[in-house]
């Protein structure tokens, strides 16, 4: 429960107040003053208000960051799925319709997951990941271009597996950097 965080804060405030009052340079009058109480009350309310707003903003930011990281991980998973399918298809000399449909479906899933992440970053109005996201978008284009250019959809070009893997590694590297960037916001 969120209200429990206020208990240690209140205890800390009381202890700090007593310790401050115990200092020699601080003279505490043994009098009861309504003015002092009112000032204390107002100060306390202000403090609580600021703390509430800060906690709310910080919770919202944390939730957004967690969502963005989750979406970025979805993109990584989608990219890995594409590479897994490429691994299976590379040895084939002729693709069947089912092979092509499977790869296209995986590429679509990858494209759409990246689009979702892009929309979420724009929705959160975060400026930090913008350049990295643009790089990931270019990666997507380059990767799909390489995989689905001729002789696709008949087969992959002979010997293209190493370059597929290199592109895949580059994608994941940029996505991982993006996740770190989001985490530090």
């Amino acid at each position: 429960m969120k209200w429990t965080v206020w208990i240690p804060a209140l205890l800390l405030g009381l202890v700090s107040g007593f310790m401050l009052g115990a200092l020699r340079v601080v003279r505490v009058k043994p009098e009861f003053s309504f003015d002092g109480l009112a000032t204390l009350g107002i100060g306390l309310l202000l403090f609580l208000g600021v703390q509430l707003v800060y906690t709310r903003i910080s919770d919202d930011r944390r939730a957004e960051r967690d969502l963005l990281i989750s979406l970025a991980k979805d993109v990584v998973a989608a990219v890995d799925e594409v590479d897994g399918i490429c691994e299976q298809l590379n040895p084939l000399e002729q693709f069947q319709d089912g092979h092509v449909a499977t790869l296209n479906s995986a590429l679509q899933k990858y494209s759409n997951s990246l689009r979702m992440l892009d929309a979420a970053v724009k929705g959160c109005k975060l400026e930090g990941p913008g350049d990295l996201l643009a790089r990931c978008s270019e990666d997507r284009y380059r990767y799909k271009d390489f995989l689905t250019d001729s002789p696709y959809p008949n087969r992959f070009a002979a010997g293209s597996r190493r370059q597929q893997q290199a592109l895949h590694s580059q994608l994941k590297e940029n996505l991982t950097t993006l996740i770190f960037k989001i985490n530090r916001i």
Partner: protein, 114 residues
């Protein structure tokens, strides 16, 4: 400039749900076949009627880069990049990035793909 009224071309229902390779020599449902038999005629019709041609990319099994580049990049090479950009539009609810990809192929048509 006011928006042009639109003709619609649904690739999945009017050509193939499984668009194929770049050229006829490479296999069936090629981009070359699509361009020669459907796209050029429909595009010219749209231009002559003062309309734009809306290409619906949904409903199929997906598109390879070679198909899209040969079809739409090829259209731009034959009819001109600016004319094509002015009279062509794309719709894809299934894969929104497709629209950007195809537009890129059209813009790169004269300077050469890759």
């Amino acid at each position: 400039m006011p928006a042009l009224s639109q003709l619609l071309l649904r690739i999945a229902s009017e050509f193939s749900k499984t668009p194929g390779p770049r050229t006829r020599a490479e296999g069936k449902h090629s981009a070359e076949e699509f361009l020669d038999t459907i796209l050029l005629n429909r595009f010219d019709q749209a231009v002559s009627e003062g309309q734009s041609l809306l290409i619906d990319l949904d409903g199929g099994y997906g598109y390879g880069t070679s198909f899209l580049e040969e079809a739409f990049g090829g259209l731009a090479r034959q009819r001109g990049v600016e004319v094509v950009l002015q009279h062509l539009d794309f719709k894809s609810d299934e894969e929104p990035y497709l629209r950007d990809d195809v537009t890129r192929f059209i813009r790169q048509a004269k300077t050469g793909f890759r």
